[in-house]
Symmetry: D2
Subunit: 336 residues, 4 copies
């Protein structure tokens, strides 16, 4: 059960509400986000919600039967749109492409990529400075120093930055230099990290786990939201299956299913979703057709020379065509 | 290794070829299809294929490293197009929608569906008269009698018929009444059935197994082709995964991958691919965006009352919109 | 709902029962097996089963909520034991090992294997004469002729034969020469084959599908049982998963789960269950520890030279040790 | 390539080695563990390792083609045994059972469990004080305070403690109170946590990811080892599959495969491995038969009243029997 409180609810009214919930054996979780103030009541007893809803200081009340609450569309019927500033918005009606390399490698690479993005009117650049790598002996990214230089360059172009955060301790240092913090598939159930990301006021893109269920993804988002941060995007990036003809199985079904279950924006990652460069554009188109609110993809001036994951990375001319196709597709889907 | 023979190759030249293959320890499999005459040589020794290629009576020769041979694009670079007659073709450049109920139920249902299809300019009707059912106590279809009546009605509308065949013994009886024989997911490795379907001159739509690999699908197609029938379409219908939010996981990746690996037409089945009625249209659009040559989907005047699988079946007005969207999408993809 | 009838039920009593079921909108399926006579009533209405149970000619009546009925332990509480004659029984309390090559290859191979089995007191020999092969160009077995010669030799040793049947048309010819007919994983939902196997009086070993669920396996068994053949064994042979370190994922959980859900004997196939020769014995031991009623495994005098699947086949000395260990294990499990 | 150094290698010899590796374009990673000093050379060039192996200060050198190096049995042929003190060892030849509740709940529960363990001669108690929970609204454990009280009690009984650590910041505080730190399935690729656990001198039990591959598990262990901690155990706890008849699919194959690929001890978790209380004992037996070096399982005085996961938890009398059976099994396996 979600109870949305009036902004300036009196302490005594809040206490009365808590007592009422207590009285029916409901645990009350207080949630204060950038935008709103809620009590999440968790319990089993059946009762007439009007008996709570008519208490003073309460704006709205809803039963939500899902395991997740605040991210559920049963609670919020309208789509959430995330405002990154400078006219860049993410969510229904605001399709955005985020593109860039797997890893940030050098000043020159940053510059070349930013030029490519600007030329294509892409307003968000992706890139990793902290890289989760299966082997401890692999390159793990340029770290904070790389991020700072990337930020400096991106600012000159007016292009926003999305990059992965891997641990709680990194958040504070990264905050001044990022526009969206990404949680990778391997950390999708790193609950302490999710808790911490709920305590900042910066958009988070949350990737589905490598074999995560849709329900687990939504509950992971609930961790962030219930800690106070409403600015969340979900990202479908392919799941692990038995098939060996490609790297991951893009779960195209997840896109309409997520759009139905939650009000949060849904982003697709076709690069990881298939993991085979020559098919990324086709899969990207499909995700737009299925209703994705945005697409994040890997591009590089010379994928063959990329530090990592070059095999799923488009070069600039492949990318140019992909952007154009996706935007055309988006218009059709919207108009349809 | 595939050796394409001249149409009227002399017996003595054929024998000379066999002897040459024998001489290098290659097993030779003779394949005579509706269209061509081949020898498939299977062996391990490395040798100069020109030594074979210059023998008399040989039109073409290629090494094909795939486990499948004749269905591989390494052999035939151009897309195969299947001609159903009356201007209905399947394959690259000839997008077709096949629609109809899960099960054929009654004359009235047949008639209503045919009218709906005609109105929408759909030229192929799907429907089951032999139904593979998990439980022996479920309805198993109207059988041959139902097919005969369906055929009679469809002929009046000039609409073609695709329906599932479940066992070798059914083929002969069904042949006069069908335009495409479908092999269901549960029979995708029923090799005796595949052998038998290779011996007829009628198009076959081969569904991927419930957890079949792309490679297994192609090898299943090779069974049909190598028995003499080149008229094969492949169908991606969703795979089994751990996710419980829907019935099957539409493998959108399989579409571009199959288009790359084989010259055969690739059809998508979004109804089974997600199994959730309210999302079928979105998934259908995505498969067209990904490059499917055709779509097969379940429609019914009243899905709630369908004998089986109503939960993934569109009603006529939902279907009308889906057809329109897919066709628009197809134009964009083609033009793109 | 299962209604077991008195052996000599009067036609008029049977009719009265059918009418009663009709009256409450239950479909009645008559099942006459080697041993018993049943009516399976399928319907939705709640009613007092005593109103049916007290009709004349009825021996027993039970509600069975599972999708499968006659194979459910909710119906038959006691374990079914299958008698192969000559003191060889399969089922709880009668552990048997079935061993032999993947494919029957030659008279010499048959003879050597039979000697090996006799020495180890193994009473059932496995081997394929019809082989389901992914590629149409692979060896498909010696066929009926091979079976006849194998049978002749096995009879001399007093050893029973289990071999795979791939299509309905093969059954009649094979019957005189086999003791158990095996349905392979690829045919586990070949419903017409299952129907046909229900109409004979010969034990059937039914393998779980490559990605079959436990529920599907039990419903497949229900096909055989409801067509009249109670002599069914189920076989867990590993499922398909994402893991690449071995060929299949032996589902050890399936063994206790199947033993709980059904009264039929449960056999394990560790050779396919892992598909890696040097680990087959360990996995075999584990399946016995988990409660398997029998084990089927691949052995060959020279696995390296086997026609097929040598990589999961034990040689005779490896097998000797495996048999001994399994039997010791079985005693412990039984005594425990 | 692994180069084991002499304990007191001279700085100049170390430098000479680094230069040599540099000279052939090998990256050198220095690893200093509790026990040894290594250089891991990563590069592609072929060369005669004797040219390196004969340098001063080098004890041993091996090529290891696996993605993981120090945990590979290609490097260390003998099994690693982890000494917990007081005669408690883990690894080949030292079978140990670890048992206890999912969550530590109260002093009384701790006491009752310790008594139960003592009576059964179990020397390691499991229990969670930091719980990874899918929903942010679920009980997350008693935290450090609970651990301190548990430790106090366990000390009185001479029983060791294994408990889960969820984030780097918790490690230091937990260290004085734990004997083994467990990394849960959801953190199996939390690389920063693995790095941190490599910097302490305390045994770590590393669980396989929910859909983790065997290779990923070994690379995760390599993270810990290469940071300096050789005391690692691996734990198979079931993988995610499509089957719905139980919670996880115990991957019995993983046990012999891991024992082959690595020298580290392999522990099985049958409670999570099937997730169904009435079958846990059977699966536990199977894992011992397959060669597990230890078993970790959930027990509780009253599983029905457990704070979490009661459905896979044995009560004390079920557990008594399971311990006894596993120990008997272990003797047979060892003797066999």
């Amino acid at each position: 059960m979600i109870i949305q409180l009036e902004k300036g609810i009196q302490q005594q009214d809040l206490q009365k509400l808590r007592d009422s919930l207590n009285g029916i054996d409901y645990k009350s979780n207080e949630v204060q986000t950038q935008f709103q103030h809620y009590i999440i009541g968790v319990g089993k007893k059946e009762f007439d919600i009007r008996s709570i809803g008519t208490l003073p200081g309460i704006k709205d009340i809803h039963r939500v039967s899902d395991a997740y609450k605040l991210v559920s569309r049963k609670w919020r019927v309208e789509d959430s749109v995330i405002d990154l500033g400078d006219g860049v918005k993410l969510g229904t009606g605001h399709f955005e492409i985020m593109a860039g390399p797997c890893s940030i490698e050098s000043d020159e690479q940053i510059e070349t990529t930013l030029q490519h993005l600007q030329k294509n009117n892409i307003r968000i650049m992706r890139g990793g400075v902290y890289k989760p790598r299966s082997s401890p002996y692999s390159f793990r990214g340029l770290g904070l120093e790389g991020l700072v230089r990337w930020h400096e360059a991106a600012k000159r172009y007016g292009i926003k930055i999305i990059t992965e955060v891997m641990m709680t301790e990194q958040i504070e240092d990264m905050l001044p230099y990022v526009d969206i913090l990404q949680v990778g598939a391997r950390n999708s159930q790193n609950f302490n990290l999710l808790d911490a990301l709920g305590k900042i006021d910066k958009p988070v893109l949350l990737k589905r786990g490598i074999s995560g269920t849709i329900d687990e993804l939504l509950q992971a988002a609930e961790y962030i939201f219930s800690n106070g941060n409403e600015k969340i995007m979900l990202c479908e990036r392919g799941i692990r299956s038995y098939e060996k003809a490609y790297r991951n199985t893009m779960d195209i079904n997840a896109i309409p299913i997520l759009k139905e279950k939650t009000h949060l924006p849904v982003i697709a990652d076709p690069s990881h979703g298939i993991g085979v460069r020559r098919h990324v554009s086709k899969v990207a188109l499909a995700t737009v057709a299925a209703g994705a609110d945005g697409v994040i993809m890997e591009v590089h001036a010379q994928p063959e020379k990329a530090f990592s994951d070059g095999q799923q990375t488009l070069n600039f001319s492949e990318a140019n065509k992909a952007y154009e196709d996706m935007r055309k597709m988006r218009e059709i889907v919207n108009g349809g």
